[in-house]
């Protein structure tokens, strides 16, 4: 039994071992690939050669014995800087073209590569260096490989045609020299027989080249994922900041509008009640309205507090953290080193993390002391909540901690938890705030 595959081989290299290679269009495509390679290699060799000129100079000096250590090292370094620094600019368009050309020998799709505009980030990307490696390969190893293939091709053709060529002069095959027509017969037979292998030869060379190109130019799955993740987190960051701006606007509207008016209204109701006879139905109705208005005041205050506490909005994180500490049943020491107001989203995230952490401490830890620290260093806000409780906090149990971590992640930060059984528990949150 032979495994049956309805799919034709997808790469030229794989097609080599199929019986129908000669009747397929593979050899023709391989030939087209090889010929176009020559053109492209020449086009790339010019700029790369210019960049590598210091190396060429050095090689010349070494060859002629005029090289000196000092200037040699300078040339070596200069060449490296030029090739590594500007090489990617040559390699990138080459790679883009090669990914398209690769379709001649490889049917598998190569995903398009999204790149940031040219900048430092390029040099951190592994793909950049693989593309450069491919460019170097194209002007060094590929010509050598093609030359060997071309030589074999010429040899086969010359052998096959030797009976017609010999009358024009003897043929030097390197290992032997053919001088008379009878001598040419075996070579001619072998040559004609070998002509059949020419398509295989072309296909093999194109296939090897294509495989190397694909290996170097195909973005790795992780890189693709990385690019997508970057895009996803960027769009998430945009959403989050739009969301935060909207929250802030609502909070301001409620705070400056509804809340103030409601206090005024409740006050008026309180005054109105005083002017009514104590036992009258009107007095009792106004009294009820007054109580309801007070209830509404409390609810509105809590609502605003949940969005963005007033103390945080007005006075910033240190004051807000101290207020949280004051509300805690467990004694909390607060230490802050924040010379400036931080972005609203960062402040709010840090605040709610500490609020949730302190709630957890009070509920679960059995701690007798908590220390909250917040400091900003080099564009990173680090907030720590450390308690002396029994530890053993597990993000897998209960959603409090994971909810916190999600909130932190949405602000592009991260949250670390250390809570060995027996304590102490430390929650550290890092939020970028540049």
């Amino acid at each position: 039994m032979i495994p049956v595959s309805a799919d034709p081989p997808r790469t030229t290299l794989a097609a080599l071992v199929t019986p129908r290679l000669l009747t397929s269009d593979r050899p023709v495509k391989a030939a087209a690939y090889l010929l176009s390679t020559v053109l492209i290699a020449v086009l790339v060799a010019v700029p790369l050669g210019l960049l590598a000129f210091p190396w060429a100079l050095l090689a010349r000096q070494v060859a002629t014995g005029t090289a000196r250590t000092g200037s040699g090292l300078v040339l070596l370094a200069l060449g490296a800087v030029l090739v590594a620094g500007l090489g990617p600019l040559v390699a990138w368009p080459l790679a883009a073209a090669e990914r398209v050309r690769l379709r001649l020998v490889d049917a598998r799709p190569v995903p398009p590569v999204r790149r940031a505009p040219f900048g430092l980030s390029w040099y951190r990307h592994p793909l950049t260096w693989r593309e450069l490696a491919y460019a170097v390969l194209l002007v060094t190893v590929v010509p050598a490989l093609y030359s060997v293939a071309a030589l074999v091709l010429v040899l086969i053709v010359v052998c096959a045609l030797s009976p017609w060529l010999v009358p024009g002069g003897e043929i030097d095959l390197g290992v032997t020299v053919i001088t008379t027509p009878p001598q040419t017969v075996p070579y001619s037979v072998i040559g004609f027989a070998a002509l059949v292998t020419v398509p295989y030869l072309l296909t093999a060379v194109a296939g090897v080249h294509g495989a190397a190109a694909r290996a170097l130019l195909h973005p790795r799955a992780t890189e693709e994922l990385h690019a997508e993740l970057v895009e996803v987190s960027r769009s998430r960051a945009r959403l989050v900041s739009a969301f935060e701006a909207e929250r802030h606007r609502i909070e301001r509207d409620l705070h400056d509008g509804a809340q103030q008016k409601l206090v005024g209204l409740t006050l008026q109701l309180g005054l109105a009640r005083l002017d009514l006879p104590a036992a009258s139905p009107a007095a009792s109705a106004v009294e009820t309205a007054h109580q309801q208005a007070k209830q509404l005041m409390t609810e509105l205050r809590e609502l605003i507090h949940g969005i963005r506490p007033n103390v945080l909005a007005d006075l910033g994180l240190p004051a807000a953290l101290r207020e949280l500490a004051d509300q805690s049943v467990v004694p909390v020491a607060v230490e802050t080193d924040l010379p400036r107001r931080l972005p609203e989203q960062v402040e709010a995230t840090a605040y709610f993390v500490v609020a949730e952490a302190l709630t957890n401490v009070a509920k679960h830890s059995g701690a007798t002391a908590v220390r909250v620290t917040a400091r900003e260093t080099a564009g990173l806000l680090t907030v720590e909540v450390r308690d002396d409780g029994r530890g053993g906090a597990d993000p897998a149990h209960g959603t409090g901690l994971t909810g916190l971590a999600d909130r932190v992640a949405a602000a592009d930060g991260r949250m670390l938890l250390s809570s060995p059984p027996g304590g102490p528990t430390l929650i550290r949150t890092e939020l970028p705030c540049a």
């Binding site: 206090v263 005024g264 006050l267 005054l271 005083l274 005041m297 007005d314 004051d326 004694p331």
Partner: protein
């Protein structure tokens, strides 16, 4: 009773002015920001200043800072600060000014309980100290404070002292005899290391003890 009123919300300012009027206070000036408050207080020499804490120009604690300044210049001026939320640092500074005589710190929501609010204003004008019950409760909840040494009953008594009530009023509230209130207060003062002197404001000092402890830099 001449009052200068500072509140940036127009509705609430008018409501407060109406309230004060209704209870026999004379509002000599009602203004909307801290600089105007300072000017009005200088111009009218009122008996009482009632000011919102969060006001223009910075919308942070301008009113409180103005109040602290007024008290520094004239420790005899009765000042009541209204806050959206508890803010200790300046609250302690304000309450500390002039030995805590004639000063109040209330959450803004209190104004809607009209009679209680007016009673608190009167206590302040009479030289009392009024601290919002919520502020006091928060301070008393702190286990780190020497309040841990106080009994539950003593805490209740101290909370009422902080709100500016007399012994008689506290006795009525807690349904105890005035003598036992006196005993409790004696115990509180002793536990808080407030030794008897001729200073009549030990009651105030007892409350301020917490605030100072919370903000050692003020002592």
């Amino acid at each position: 009773m001449r009052v200068v009123l500072a509140e940036d919300g127009v509705l609430l300012r008018e409501g407060l002015a109406g309230l004060l009027d209704r209870f026999g206070f004379t509002v000599v000036a009602s203004v909307g920001d801290a600089p105007q408050l300072l000017r009005a207080a200088a111009e009218h020499s009122p008996d009482l200043v009632v000011t919102d804490i969060r006001m223009p120009p910075t919308f942070t604690d301008d009113g409180l800072r103005a109040a602290v300044r007024l008290r520094r210049d004239d420790p005899g001026l009765a000042v009541v600060a209204l806050s959206q939320y508890v803010q200790h640092g300046y609250a302690a500074e304000l309450l500390d000014s002039g030995g805590g005589v004639g000063v109040g710190y209330l959450l803004k929501d209190r104004v809607v309980d009209v009679e209680d609010f007016v009673a608190a204003l009167r206590r302040v004008v009479a030289g009392g100290t009024v601290i919002d019950p919520q502020v006091v409760r928060r301070l008393l909840n702190r286990q780190s404070s020497p309040i841990a040494r106080l009994s539950q009953r003593e805490r209740e008594v101290l909370a009422l002292v902080a709100e500016g009530h007399s012994n008689a009023a506290i006795a009525r509230t807690l349904v105890l005899s005035e003598a036992s209130i006196g005993k409790h207060i004696g115990n509180i003062l002793a536990k808080l290391d407030l030794t008897p002197t001729d200073d009549t404001n030990r009651r105030v000092l007892a409350v301020l003890t917490y605030l100072r402890e919370r903000f050692p830099e003020l002592s």
